[in-house]
Assembly symmetry: C2
């Protein structure tokens, strides 16, 4: 019960802060949201939330601001999906329906997405590269280090050293090798990544078959190597002018982001792996792989015809953003684009 109210307080803080861009205090909070308690009570809750790391004060005696952790909780448990209005849906479909070819679809999507979210939009071109995995080899160097070799149909060879979290026997390794081979061989890269993650289950817990994260380490390394190979992928970026709204915190926030926008490899990493079927991935601030982008979040999802996750699209913006609205916009655009690809 108090627990519930504390979460309501957190939700209110996030919503207010996103709307006003100013630290929000206890009094304003009870006024603007109908929590039926006094400011003092809210203050106590806030103190607890701060202890738990969900909010912080920019300086003593100012309102509270959500932390990354706070946004995370908000996104995971507190946000209610904000459905697109009929008008918005109509706007989306009419905007995309005029597209004449693939290039046009992507260009329009980027523009649409950046206008809907008022953020920087990023759309990866659907995978056309048909390069496949020809072979994977795992060579044990020591019991806890192995070399993963990836050979692609294009003839490219990629080697990675894997430090294992535990020692592994030759038998177990052979087992793993055959599993990996079966999952990946002959697949195009995008599929191989997905199948690897799905088809090679982690053996959990203790016992004779315990795994200690070895599988995980190997699979992730391989997937990473494959993702790198998507780097010849094309990407479209739009709405950079929305960065002008950052206003403050310029050198710290906008500059690294502008740099990232030119490094398409970086962008691909940011977008992450494609997930499909309405699942929108949110990466908040420092959760991402780049320190300089600690104050930016990524909202992305996969898209493609017949629910194949061919590519990824999404937006990049400040951690302080309207997550529910952005997420539903991203999801809606992904759906419409997928449908169009279905038809075309």
């Amino acid at each position: 019960m108090q627990e519930d109210r504390r979460l309501a307080v957190l939700r209110a803080i996030v919503e207010d802060y996103v709307a006003t861009e100013e630290p929000v205090g206890s009094k304003a909070l009870v006024e603007r949201h109908g929590l039926g308690v006094s400011p003092a009570t809210v203050r106590n809750d806030m103190a607890v939330l701060e202890d738990e790391g969900y909010i912080t004060q920019p300086h003593t005696s100012a309102g509270r601001v959500p932390t990354d952790k706070g946004y995370r909780l908000f996104v995971d448990r507190l946000s209610t999906v904000k459905p697109m209005t009929a008008a918005e849906k109509r706007a989306i479909s009419s905007f995309l329906d005029g597209a004449v070819d693939l290039d046009d679809v992507v260009t329009r999507s980027v523009r649409l997405l950046s206008q809907l979210t008022r953020q920087v939009a990023v759309v990866q071109y659907p995978t056309l590269s048909r390069s496949t995995v020809r072979h994977v080899e795992l060579v044990a160097l020591t019991p806890s280090r192995l070399l993963a070799v990836l050979i692609l149909s294009t003839g490219r060879v990629e080697q990675r050293l894997v430090e294992l979290p535990a020692e592994v026997s030759e038998d177990a390794l052979a087992d793993l090798r055959s599993q990996v081979l079966q999952a990946a061989t002959g697949q195009i890269i995008a599929d191989a990544v997905r199948r690897l993650r799905e088809a090679v289950p982690e053996v959990p817990g203790p016992g004779p078959d315990r795994d200690d994260g070895v599988t995980r380490a190997v699979v992730e390394t391989l997937a990473d190597a494959m993702e790198d190979h998507r780097s010849d992928q094309r990407i479209a970026v739009g709405g950079a002018a929305n960065l002008a709204r950052y206003g403050d915190s310029f050198d710290s926030a906008v500059r690294p982001l502008l740099e990232a926008l030119e490094e398409h490899v970086v962008l691909l990493k940011l977008l992450g792996e494609a997930t499909v079927g309405g699942t929108v991935t949110v990466r908040i601030g420092a959760e991402g792989p780049y320190e300089e982008l600690a104050s930016t979040s990524v909202v992305a999802t996969g898209y493609g015809p017949r629910d194949e996750a061919l590519a990824t699209l999404g937006i990049v913006g400040p951690t302080r953003m309207d997550y529910p609205g952005t997420m539903s916009a991203v999801r809606a655009v992904a759906r419409y684009v997928s449908r169009i690809l279905d038809e075309g």
Copy 2:
């Protein structure tokens, strides 16, 4: 003599202002440059320069700042070419020499140019579109209005209405038509534009053959229509992070520029037509076609193998920029790129 000194003063003001980003006063001026006169004298000169519109004061009792007109004069008559150092030349060639294909050349050029100038670099891909002019028709609607029809080998048709500055006879029109046809038919677009401008000379002055700008109006309209058709041209942009240095004047300067950078058609217009052979075009502030970009300048030049102006490259930056340095960087990069295209 005083005239000479006044120009020296202007040059000094531009140089100091570009270096310091602060309005420059009379005293600082005589100290930092060895003009052998007193501050009072300089003040008098400055008053004149201000009357003539070359400089202005941001507020009473502050130093002077060059106007667009001032920069123009500086660029045209006062700037001494700043040659590239040997080290810079080496850096340029080694940076570009590693390029493997056309895409790579363009990508590297953009990066190089933005790093050299610390501005936003724009490189147009060399014309690959081989679409040619199939036919041009000029139809008189009234004696002073005609319809220009442009038919391209791709099958596209472009119509433009031309308001003539004077009436024109059927004979003169037939003459013009045949000239235009001869110049343009069968040419690829880039060449057609150039040949049109060269081969259809304006008949000047009064007399039986006087032209009153009719030729000019027609040629420019046609050229414009053709330029529009280059709009499927690809463009590479780089170094947008350098915009972070603008710091102040954000919404007024950076936002429109960011928007322009995404509108490749706009960028093409900004870069303007390719000029070749070491000629670097400088467009300062409001001289350009876009009001919102009144505080940005464009420094561009053409490039291409064997001195054919296949495409344009250049930079976009604040009017307050180091013109000599930027111009020589742009020219140097254009030369090296041209040479590489020559070899490849």
